[in-house]
Each structure stands twice: as C-alpha cells, then as structure tokens.
C-alpha cells in the first residue's frame, strides 16, 4: 500500500476525535455531572433510609447498599439512552459526524463505568465501616462477591455491569431514534441482549439454566466475554447510526 493512500485513512481516524468534538463533549459532560451528583446523593439517602427502617422493624442481616445495585445499573442505562437518542440530532446539526458521535458515546460509557463503579465501591466501603462498628453483616446475594467487604470484586462487577448497561441503553436509544417506536420496541430483545448475557455471567440473574453454565466458567473468561459483548455492542451502535437520518424534533 502506498503512502498516498494510507495517509488520508490515518488522518480520518484522527479527525473522528478532533478537538472541536472533544470541546463540545466536555461541555455536554459538564451538564451530565449535575445529574450524576444528584443521583448518587439520592442513592445515599435511600440507603440510609433502608437502614433506619430495617432497624425499626427488625434486625439488619444484609447489606443495605446492595439493594440499590439494580438502580445503579438501570440509571446508567437510562442516561446513555437519553444521551444517544437526544444527542445525535443536535450533534450532527452542529456539524459533527455520526462516527465521532459514536466514539464519544463509547467514551461516555467508559467514563460513566469508571465513575459509577468508584461511587459504588465507595458506598460499600462506607457501609462496611458503619456496619462493622455495630456488628451488622454486610453479606449480599447473587453477585460475583458474597460480601460487601470484597471491594476488588465489587469494583470489577460494577465496572463491567455499567459498561454493559450503558452500551445497551445507547443501543436502545439508537434503535428508537433510527427506526421509530415500532422498530425500537421490536428490537428490544436484541438491544437488551448484552444485559441478559452479562447478568447471567456475573450474577446468575435473568436466565436460569444458561446462567448456571455461565457461572461455571473461570472469572477471566467471563470478564473477557463481557468486554467482547461491549465491543460488539459499540460496533452495532456504529452500524445503526452510520446512515441515520436526523429527525425533526417534536416541538
């Protein structure tokens, strides 16, 4: 291959994340931050509420923070759904490409996973300290870990889960954006598939028998499979949005 043909290709991939896109994304991320802070504060308040109520009615036998694990996952799902379905139109209207939008969505998923898994681990750490002082157990069910004190596994599971839920949310948003209500709904089994596969590999929720077999695999194999699912999801996201027409916003 001659130099003349290879240079534009390299140039093009560099442009997918040109400084204009990054500057725009930073501004968009800033407005996301407010929502994130509000969400994690709310989650903390709920956790405290659970503890208070449990103490009133009976004894604390289980991690309270763990009850909120689904909330953390589905919230990242919802955020990415709205970012994708609501963002692509204004983004292209500002003169940026769909390709760079997909790249930024992937980055957003990664940043969300990093921040959310850190917050999730922090929650468990705080709970561990408080519960230890009172002699309450911090055990959990249906997780990679059996107890909130296994912080490494807590972080790993949250990281993988948010990566997948975020990817799935982006896929659902993209399917509804591209295909409208009917296609968006009909493709839900596909767009939600990453979540199903991952939960069966991580926690055994969703699909009973398959899950049991999935849980038998060694952890590194499961982790790699999940990362592959995320990568595949991003490729599909690119294919769905690649030639998407920008809709007229309803007003």
């Amino acid at each position: 291959m001659s130099l003349a043909t290879s240079v534009p290709a390299a140039d093009r991939s560099a442009r997918a994340l040109d400084p204009r896109a990054v500057r725009g994304a930073r501004l968009a991320l800033r407005s996301q931050l407010v929502v994130w802070v509000a969400f994690w504060l709310t989650l903390a308040v709920i956790a405290v509420g659970i503890v208070v109520v449990t103490v009133r009615v009976g004894e604390v036998e289980h991690s309270a923070w763990d009850y909120l694990s689904a909330g953390c996952r589905w919230f990242s799902f919802a955020m990415l759904l709205f970012v994708t379905a609501g963002g692509i139109g204004p983004y292209v209207a500002h003169g940026l490409t769909r390709r760079s939008f997909v790249t930024l969505v992937a980055l957003d998923v990664a940043v969300t996973a990093a921040v959310f898994s850190a917050c999730w681990t922090l929650g468990h750490a705080v709970e561990n300290a408080v519960f230890a002082a009172r002699g309450w157990p911090t055990s959990v069910q249906e997780h990679l870990y059996a107890d909130g004190s296994q912080l490494g596994l807590v972080t790993l599971e949250a990281l993988l889960a948010v990566l997948v839920y975020g990817t799935s949310g982006a896929l659902v948003g993209a399917a509804f954006y591209r295909g409208g209500g009917w296609w968006g709904t009909l493709t839900l089994p596909l767009t939600l598939a990453p979540v199903a596969v991952t939960e069966s590999l991580l926690t055994g929720r969703w699909i009973g028998d398959l899950a049991q077999r999935g849980l038998d695999l060694p952890l590194p194999a499961r982790g790699l499979t999940i990362l592959l699912v995320v990568a595949l999801g991003m490729v599909v996201l690119h294919l769905v949005l690649r030639r998407a027409a920008i809709r007229r916003p309803a007003s």
Binding site: R20, A28, V92, H94, G95, L96, T97, A245, I246, P249
Partner: protein, 291 residues
Amino acid sequence: MSFGVEVRDLTVRYGRTTALDGVDLTLEPGRIHGLLGRNGSGKTSLLSVLAAFRPATSGTVLVDGEDPFENPRIMAGTCLVRESGDHMDDKARATLQIAAAVRPTWDAELAGRLVDRLQVPLDRKPSQMSRGQRSALGVVVGLASRAPLTMLDESYLGLDAPSRYAFYDELLADYAEHPRTIVVSSHLIEEVERLFEQVVVLDHGRVLLADDADALRARGATLTGPGDVVDAFLDGRRVLERRTLGRTAQVTVDGGLDDAERRRARDAGLEIGPVPLQDLFVHLTASGDRP
C-alpha cells in the same frame, strides 16, 4: 471561504414517498440563493442532504467538491437551521456555548449582538420558548456560525416582523463583510426576494427553475386591454393566468417581452405590467400546472 454545491440526479425516497426526483442543481459559491417551493416540494429534503442530515437514496452530491455525508471538513463548514430547530433541550446559553466550541468560524460578538436584537431568552430551554424565540435561537446559531455553506430553512418565518427585518439587515451586513454561500428557503417570497442573487424553484421534488433573480423578475409580463387585442398578441405564448372584466382581459404570460414587442403591444393599445416573483412562483407551481 465559501462552499459551492453540485447536485446530479439526486433522488430521496422515504418508503414509498419520493421527496426528490432526479434533481440537478449548481449553487455557485459566495452568493445568496433563494430556494423557493410550496410546502412539500422537497426543499427541506434537499437541504438535509446537503447538510449531511440524511443520506441520498441515489445520485451525486458534492459540497466544495466532496461528498458531504460523514465528511468532517464539509460538515464543520455547513450549517443548516431547520424551522423546528435542532437544539438540545438545554438552556439557550448552553446551545450557544457548544456551537462556539465546535464551529471553527464562530463569531461570539455577532452572536451576542443577535441575541440582543432578536431577544433570545438565554436562560430558557427550547421546550419553554415560543415559536418566535426558537426561530430566533436558530437564526443566531445560523448566522454566528458563519459557515462557508449556511442554509436557513424557513427558520426565520417564526419571527415577528420587526425581528425578521432585523434578521435581513444582519444577514446582509454580515454577508457583505464575510461573503459565503447562503441558501434561504421560503414559500413566502415577496419579503425576501431582493436578498437573492440566484433563485431555485422546486416543485414536486424537481427543479422547476434555476436562474438569476433579475432574469426571473423580467421573465413574465401581464398584458391588459380589450380581450380580442390581447388574444391577437398572445401568438402561442404560454399563458399563466387569464382574467376578464367585461371586454377587458388581463393575461399573464411566461417569457419576457423584448423592446420591439413592447412597442408593438403599446401601439396596439395594450398595457404592459411586470410580474412580481411571488406571482410568477404562484402561477408556475399552481397545482396541476406542470411544464
């Protein structure tokens, strides 16, 4: 910097609907073009393809010599403002900040002046704005982006009259200082026709006319006088409209008259009048009247 546009045999279909049907078109760079057509004539579809908002079903589209679809350089230099507005549902201030960050040619001073003149409420989201305010936000983004290809798709029609005139003034003043290719689409022509240097008329997804604005203004004529005299003069000309009042007839014909014809008409006792662009447009695109 200005982007020119070349369109060859462009077709756009949505399911079974054909929005554009074999459009051929050249927009010269650095001019203000009027894109005229009735509602549903394909104006928005054409502009959407030029702005890479949607792919073409078939045909060739070149903006500044390149296919605009997913082309970072062309898309960065192309700004289409649609009537509905394509803004995030965030405060207008945030939309303008993002536009300033991503548009290489953004002019913050112009944006500030337009926000004042058109009274854009910076602390409101598009969903909280009136139609006029949303239009105004679109106009600010469209003009201050100063894109080499700027397209305003009826976006200014939601403005009230004083704001519309402010918009025309700012458009002309900024265009004179920073010439670029500007396309203004409209179905209301009288108010904007003098802004145009060139005019394209779309009808049923095809290009009906594309010419110099002055040439189009000189294209038609009305002949008024006794019915039989008018008829004798018509001589195979294409009649766009005919009205009669008693013995007097007024006929609008397609095609200008040269000096000799004018003299002949006047000597025959006919009165010759101009056909405003708006009327020519209405006659040519009236339903069932296709060339």
